[in-house]
Subunit: 477 residues, 2 copies
């Protein structure tokens, strides 16, 4: 008799068979009903104990969190809420869990408390559902790209190039921090460091991904990226995972098509595969929103929001059109925005993005053709000389989900841009080579994975969608 | 007429249709035959130009590495080596490639030279095949675990715990390296650093993976890991990718079954999906081996070696048996080993592993039940009190491919082990909690991904199976 998972047992329609299962006790009710979970599903299997046939001392050890090995007969359940249950024949305690000290009691814990016990928080329904969804989304991403002829590429984590320009970086080093080697002029001598130069943690794999797109055609990265920014918000992590596809011979319109198709595909995948987890999280979100004033509650439930994205076209709007809409909007005229939009060229704040997405269009929006001077050096300059082929995808409740662009493929224009921003050509000689030898139109985008997980789970704090969040003053576990 | 990839065109059986394709020129022969590649396959599509109908200046720009856009008619090929070809109607140069300076000429380049041009090396057959295989193996790994009920888990890259003990670590910091904040006693004050403590790059996600196995049941990691070891060999990288499954309620025998099934599955996947790349790499390896003395050549070709692993059981041998075999072996008796095996307890060197795998058993070997004192603190002590439930899988030509163990699940034994090794309990309070609350037998292993890619591609240097290798004194690109 092989051990089965709870998910396997609950999907059985052959009852009256002997089964064996191992898992952790969620609750033990009336000295009779063990709710057993093993992580394979959000559902517990009910194990029914006839207490007269078991040693009292043994039953006392059936406490929340204890690991047990149950053998018995699978029967049709008499109670509500489950189709089958196990009539227990033998019960073995594999590992006790002292109810006096076990942190995860069968009651509602605050997310703050669970963050401090992040090593145990996946023993709750909420966090097990979130992490199963995170895993499922990851697989959906790999599957989408694999099915569509993309190659997965591992771009370097430790980088010697500081020209990526996406934000503050962490230094990676193994020189003696107390007595670092110095040059004659008194600077740190990084020639003596492990890599023979100053190195940092990557902020993006894009530039390296471009090198592979320009030979393998369609590639993507999915790896950790880092920002040493002191932002203690519910939207920022110092360490997060990013997905960056990059495609040769694809222009900005193709890039928008790809991003939209990709988002719909991966969200459609979890709608299909993670129904029970989503239903649980939808209910959790509903309960959470009941504590908020009516005006702040979502018009749609979690699953409705995901379906809405899967089923509707994203609205494509140029930056110039967006500025017009915002300039003429009520909150702008009534000076309700913190930053009043006066002229073309203004950088959009999240209040403006939220207005466009949540009030004006009421659907995901792709903004494109941004002013060149508020965007990165590598973006393709338009023929107007003042805008670049950039795009951002904005999601309701989340804000920017995707940022991408067509890349500047013309050597002379790229060099001018770099010179204007004081990016030394020696730093990026290899990046320039792509424009010297067989250059072509190409495009790509970056998607912050945790933002996607937040959207798909309805969790409001980014620290609750990654196993062990790294934030200022926190690298526990 | 939508643009098709070369792979799509070569698999067409409808000829006499108009097609359009974009890619890079590999060669241009006799002012007539363009071999075009776009990375979608190792094969080129032949584009036939009737030079009398094209401008001479245009044809001069058809050089190796140039990006071109070809439109024409797909016809049955007259030449050997391909089923279809394109009779070119229009030809556009998207990006030139100066033949005087382009580094990737249509000739054999040394791997050393290509490492210096790693941003262009996937424009060669060898490296495009290697990186397609790397991508395919990655997908096979995700697919295997997903199909078998595992959850993918992203363990942290920046770690505040230095107790993992797998090797030298890189420090991650953003304090001022020249004027670091100091404590009263003159030590670096890491409280002032970004994370409020000393942090490093992870050497393994295992300990964190255990926390998730003990709630979600079956999990795996697949992420970058780091070693600050000054080893300039063809087998070591400072940054490499590792796969680490971890399973609750699984003992060492189950762990061996899982590892063997996993290896066979992912290698079987690429045998099926990457036939053409493997055939190319097999031929390359054969050519390389022709330059070696007969005795050093492999008895099997690349594909034969992979098939052998897929089709044959791994030999399971205890450390104690292995010591007996080695002690009585010819090279030991004749003192040919650098390290002569005298007694039980000796750590095995790669010469011994190679002997067992390549000379004695001639197949992959799983060694298990190693002496406790040569293995890590978290491995399950056997009842004999002197061996631990560890296992290593050794592959022909590669050596150690997998290292794993059943984990010590008993709180008292684990604490004793940690005390003996001076690992402070405060460092791993969360790891100890797993043994306090619902502990159970669990096991897992680690697989160095690049070792697997080396085995599957026949490449001899680990720097040639990762896009941008990080090694001592090298973090270019």
């Amino acid at each position: 008799m092989t051990t089965k998972t709870v998910a396997e047992l609950l999907s059985q329609d052959v009852t009256l068979q002997d089964v064996t299962v191992k898992g952790w006790v969620r609750t033990f009710r009336a000295n009779r009903f063990i709710a057993l979970n093993d992580g394979s599903t959000i559902n517990n299997i009910q194990c029914v104990v006839d207490f007269e046939n078991f040693d009292e001392a043994l039953l006392k050890r059936v406490t929340t969190g204890a690991a047990v090995h149950v053998t018995g007969e699978l029967v049709e359940s008499q109670g509500r809420g489950q189709s089958v249950e196990i009539v227990v024949k033998s019960l073995e305690i594999l590992g006790d869990s002292d109810p006096e000290t076990y942190p995860i009691q069968p009651k509602k814990h605050s997310f703050e408390f669970l963050r401090e016990n992040a090593h145990l928080r996946t023993r709750t329904n909420t966090f097990s559902a979130v992490m199963r969804l995170r895993s499922s989304l990851s697989f959906a991403i790999h599957k989408y790209f694999n099915d569509n002829g993309f190659y997965y590429m591992h771009t370097p984590i430790v980088t010697g190039s500081d020209a990526e320009g996406a934000g503050e970086m962490f230094r990676v080093s193994n020189i003696d921090p107390k007595n670092p080697p110095l040059t004659e002029s008194g600077e740190i001598d990084y020639k003596e460091d492990f890599f023979g130069k100053e190195t940092n943690l990557t902020v993006s794999g894009q530039l390296e991904a471009e090198t592979y797109a320009m030979s393998l055609g369609k590639v993507y990265t999915f790896g950790p990226t880092f920002r040493a920014e002191n932002s203690n918000t519910s939207r920022h992590l110092a360490e997060f995972w990013m997905i960056e596809p990059e495609v040769a011979f694809m222009d900005l319109a193709g890039n928008m098509d790809l991003a939209e198709d990709f988002m719909k595909s991966v969200l459609g995948y979890v709608l299909d595969k993670n129904k029970e987890d989503l239903e649980f999280l939808e209910k959790r979100l509903l309960d959470e929103e009941k504590t908020k004033p009516q005006a702040e509650r979502s018009a749609m439930s979690l699953i409705e929001k995901i379906k809405f994205v899967v089923d509707n076209n994203f609205k494509r709007v140029s930056y110039t059109e967006a500025i017009d809409i915002l300039r003429n909007s009520k909150p702008n005229k009534k000076k309700k925005f913190n930053y009043i939009i006066e002229e073309w060229g203004a950088d959009l704040q999240s209040e403006h993005e939220r207005y466009l997405v949540e009030k004006h269009f009421k659907c995901p929006v792709i903004l494109f053709d941004y002013p060149a001077n508020i965007k990165a050096f590598y973006m393709r300059l338009n023929e107007d000389g003042k805008t670049v082929r950039a795009m951002d995808i904005l999601f309701p409740g989340i804000g920017e989900m995707v940022g991408g662009s067509q890349r500047e493929e013309r050597l002379d224009v790229l060099k001018e841009k770099m010179a204007a921003l004081n990016i030394p050509e020696e730093e990026l000689w290899w990046y320039l080579d792509l424009r010297k030898y067989g250059t072509a139109v190409h495009s790509g985008f970056g998607l912050g994975f945790e933002r996607l997980v937040m959207f798909a789970t309805g969790m409001g704090n980014i620290r609750d969608v990654i196993p062990y969040p790294r934030t200022p003053q926190n690298a526990e576990f």
